[in-house]
Subunit: 172 residues, 2 copies
DNA sequence: CCACACTCTGCAACTAGTTGCACAATTCGG
DNA sequence: CCGAATTGTGCAACTAGTTGCAGAGTGTGG
């Protein structure tokens, strides 16, 4: 339902082909919307068929798409449409609750690993933050929005670290 | 991949039928794993066919399932299996980033509504916390786990409120 | 006792996303 | 220049989850 719009946003920022988009998803955009290249290609075709995007300057094998006026309209319309609240779906949370039916020690080890992962991701986001937005107070428009989404990534990682750490401490 | 196990956990706590399970999912278990009754029925059939659960004391139309030994095994095996890190998928985050391509005022209003929702949910969780776990320091085993998952719900709501509020303030 | 509402079960069709693979074009090291 | 690795595109089959609907059974107020 929304990957189309994620692609529109990314293509609005700069035209690109499928793989390039997939790479961008692995970085910024994908913090909050993971996608594989296969799915991206599938959706790109649909979007091109619907006239939301169009190939620019055919350079042979690789196709670069740009957003059409029709796509701009759709993007604006989507932003205004209301979005249902999203629920986090966490298998790990389930396991934490179920721990007493299995081997708790193994689960605790897994959680420790997960905390380490989140710390790494957090450090990565903080590096980006320092590099790209050293002085956030002056930001406006798109830059401000990008910064705030990155900020969301930071807060989310902090949530995970805090929660998992509390779990570990309670079972120490 | 995991709804089966969520159902096992819930049925382990107390045998039940499809609708009753759906109701439980709307409450505690579903904090981190939403599911509709239709899907629950579908999965229950599969699980019964696989021998993970079995109907208990046939009471006519409504079927109550309980976890079999085979199901217990599966539950324990699942807890030990490692889980891929989950990514939050947020359409709202995308919109925040895309705001400058549409009507920002409308989006800000929507975000305000969302904050209100999260505050309500947070208050609800805190009520549960006070009611069911007034003295968390003495908890052990399953009770402790349930408490800690509820605690995760609280932290998650706080994450949302904080992030969305920062966004609103930055665009005030 | 009968109409109406509610509970419980479930099917069908669909949409979104994943996994595994294949193949062409390009670049790059020897 | 040639073989190998990498980049870019994409199909096919599958799994998970959603939406919309329907019918059977139970209880309840007039």
């Amino acid at each position: 339902m929304a990957i189309e719009h994620a692609l529109l946003v990314s293509l609005r920022e700069r035209p690109a082909g499928g793989l390039e988009l997939a790479r961008r998803f692995d970085r910024s955009i994908g913090f909050f919307w993971p996608a594989t290249h296969q799915q991206i290609y599938k959706v790109l075709h649909r979007m091109a068929a619907d006239g939301w995007i169009a190939p620019t300057g055919d350079e042979g094998a690789r196709t670069t798409y740009a957003v059409t006026p029709r796509g701009e309209e759709e993007l604006a319309a989507w932003i205004v449409r209301s979005t249902p609240t999203e629920r986090l779906r966490s298998e790990l949370a389930l396991k934490m609750r179920a721990a007493s039916y299995g081997d708790r020690a193994t689960l605790l080890a897994e959680i420790e690993g997960r905390v380490a992962e989140h710390r790494i991701r957090l450090a990565h986001y903080e590096t980006l933050q320092r590099r790209d937005y050293p002085e956030p107070t002056g930001l406006t428009g798109q830059d401000l929005d990008q910064y705030l989404v990155l900020r969301g990534g930071v807060l989310l990682e902090e949530f995970w670290i805090r929660w998992l750490t509390e779990y570990l401490e309670a079972h120490a």
